[in-house]
């Protein structure tokens, strides 16, 4: 009997555990270790942040779902991995610490035959002084952050209803933050809600971003085929912001936040401040902060993880200039570079480099987005890692039949721009592949016929459809596996 342990119940980890339990539950053991008691459909947090959904609509309890799946669920935090075991244990194991219930604070060694690290990002608010919902800015990265953002936003809306002007600042809160898409959705939804209340004359709405040009979205931008032109996403993004009455600041690395004031440096090395009444700024991301030890209990974290805590996998991590980046640098099996039985899925794997060209100010501050890994690639990666492990357990063959490189797979980004069945809108953007491949597609970097940029009510319906469809799938309801990632 084999034992597979999955760390993290985010999109990638939860997808992996769903496929593992479907294939292995009868004869093998599947364990999920997550400190969270809920699964949350993160893309819909945007709607929680503008009061269009409640946190209950975007989350559900994990315990009953895992009971139904036959998964051994441990609500605990993974502290360290020991892939070689130790003097007492022959097998690799993970040290976990329970976060709730009678066992709270208790540590346990959970052995495994295969380990999937799907721990997702640590929201690194500490990297920017004054950033975060406990300090001076809001976040929509989790459902409770989004709920807090909505409560604060309502205060600004009330002030505007009483005739007071308000400045809104939404975007990235760290010089190397990613997830521009989520912040972009939020700024459009905030503008939509203000416009709906006829309060635009009292609103000064700003988008602040570390992108070199708008529409970069951490993937080096893209080209879309629309209205008889091949258009860069810069034009597409600027057009949407202008339409919604939003001004922008680009090439900005936020350094510090004080009450009502953001301090940032631009790519020319100049320092600026921007006053705000309401700010939602996405933090930088880091790995979960696990340690790794060898058989002699020596710290080997630097061999297993990169500096920010994300796990090294089958990528080419050789430092090289932007001009030499290529599709083959990107991983396709997500197997640990050091241990064959360890995998990292979703945000937990360390990308070989960025997708956006690295930029630096004359003061030496790096100001550019790090690579995003949205729900779609995270789900696909979780699935193929699970499929490969299932294959190896069932056949005993050490081979990877399933591969998914971000330089070969496509993704869709549905950017909500207002809620409502008849007047809601969203921008639908598809890119294929996610990582541009200038050798294979020298003209546009990607397959231009697969790259779409359309705004309309249909996009809103698709986002709403995906919300219900993916929650259905995540709850493992009948035939869930027929729904693609």
């Amino acid at each position: 009997m084999a034992k597979v342990v999955v760390l993290g119940a985010g999109i990638s980890g939860h997808t992996a555990v769903s496929y593992l339990s479907k294939a292995l539950r009868k004869n093998h053991e599947v364990v999920m270790v997550s400190p969270n008691s809920n699964f949350q459909w993160i893309p819909s947090n945007i709607w929680v942040g503008v009061g269009k959904m409640t946190p209950e609509q975007v989350k559900f309890k994990l315990a009953p779902v895992y009971k139904k799946m036959g998964v051994n669920y441990k609500q605990a935090m993974a502290i360290s991995i020991h892939p070689e075991g130790d003097v007492e244990n022959e097998k690799g194991y993970v040290t976990i610490k329970y976060v709730t219930g009678a066992d709270e604070g208790k540590e346990e060694k959970v052995s495994y035959d295969y380990l999937i690290n799907g721990t997702g990002p640590k929201l690194n608010f500490e990297a920017t002084e004054g950033l975060g919902p406990d300090k001076f800015t809001q976040s929509v990265c989790t459902f409770d952050h989004a709920q807090h953002a909505w409560e604060t936003l309502q205060e600004s809306l009330k002030k505007m209803e009483q005739g007071e002007k308000q400045t809104f600042l939404i975007g990235t809160g760290h010089p190397m933050a990613t997830c521009q898409g989520a912040a972009f959705e939020y700024v459009l939804n905030v503008a939509f809600e203000i416009k709906k209340r006829n309060l635009m004359h009292l609103a000064d709405i700003w988008w602040i971003s570390n992108e070199y040009e708008l529409g970069d979205f951490g993937m080096g931008g893209a080209y879309v085929k629309r209205n008889g032109y091949i258009t860069p996403t810069k034009i597409f993004t600027e057009s949407i912001l202008k339409e919604y009455g939003i001004k922008w600041i680009k090439r900005a690395g936020v350094q510090k936040v004080e009450k009502g004031k953001v301090f940032y440096e631009d790519l020319e090395g100049k320092y600026h401040t921007k006053a705000f009444d309401f700010a939602m700024l996405i933090p930088g991301f880091a790995g979960a902060g696990m340690k790794a030890y060898n058989k002699n209990n020596e710290d080997i974290s630097s061999e297993v993880f990169v500096a920010n805590g994300m796990m090294k996998v089958d990528a080419d991590y050789t430092p090289k200039p932007y001009e030499q980046w290529c599709a083959e640098d990107w991983p396709s099996t997500y197997q640990s570079v050091k241990y064959d039985h360890v995998y990292a899925a979703g945000i937990a794997f360390a990308p070989p480099h960025g997708m956006s060209k690295p930029m630096e100010s004359p003061n030496g501050t790096k100001i550019f987005p790090t690579p995003p890994r949205t729900g779609m690639p995270s789900g696909v990666i979780g699935k193929i890692v699970a499929q490969n492990i299932i294959h190896m357990i069932k056949t005993g063959k050490k081979e990877h039949l399933h591969k998914a490189s971000m330089a070969k797979m496509g993704a869709a980004c549905i950017v909500s721009a207002g809620y409502g069945i008849f007047n809601g809108q969203a921008a639908v953007m598809t890119v294929n592949p996610i990582v541009s491949d200038w050798e294979k597609y020298p003209e546009w970097g990607r397959k231009i016929n697969d790259t779409v940029g359309i705004v309309g009510t249909a996009g809103h319906w698709i986002k709403l459809f995906m919300h219900y469809m993916f929650l259905y799938k995540a709850k493992a309801k009948p035939f869930w596996y027929l729904i693609p990632e």
Binding site: L241, G410, Q425, T430, G456, T457, P484
Partner: protein
Amino acid sequence: MDTQKNKTIPYSNTSYGTEPTKMVRFFRRFFILQIYYFFKLNFKIMRIVAGGHS
């Protein structure tokens, strides 16, 4: 006076942004066209996702 409209400030970065015409805005919410786009885009997304991994 339409208080929802922003005054264009020449030479500001927003002044260089393209903007949709009334007709484009109408078609973005035109039910029949949007139903067509709903199925077309869903199909396209499914195809891209399915083709991206082996």
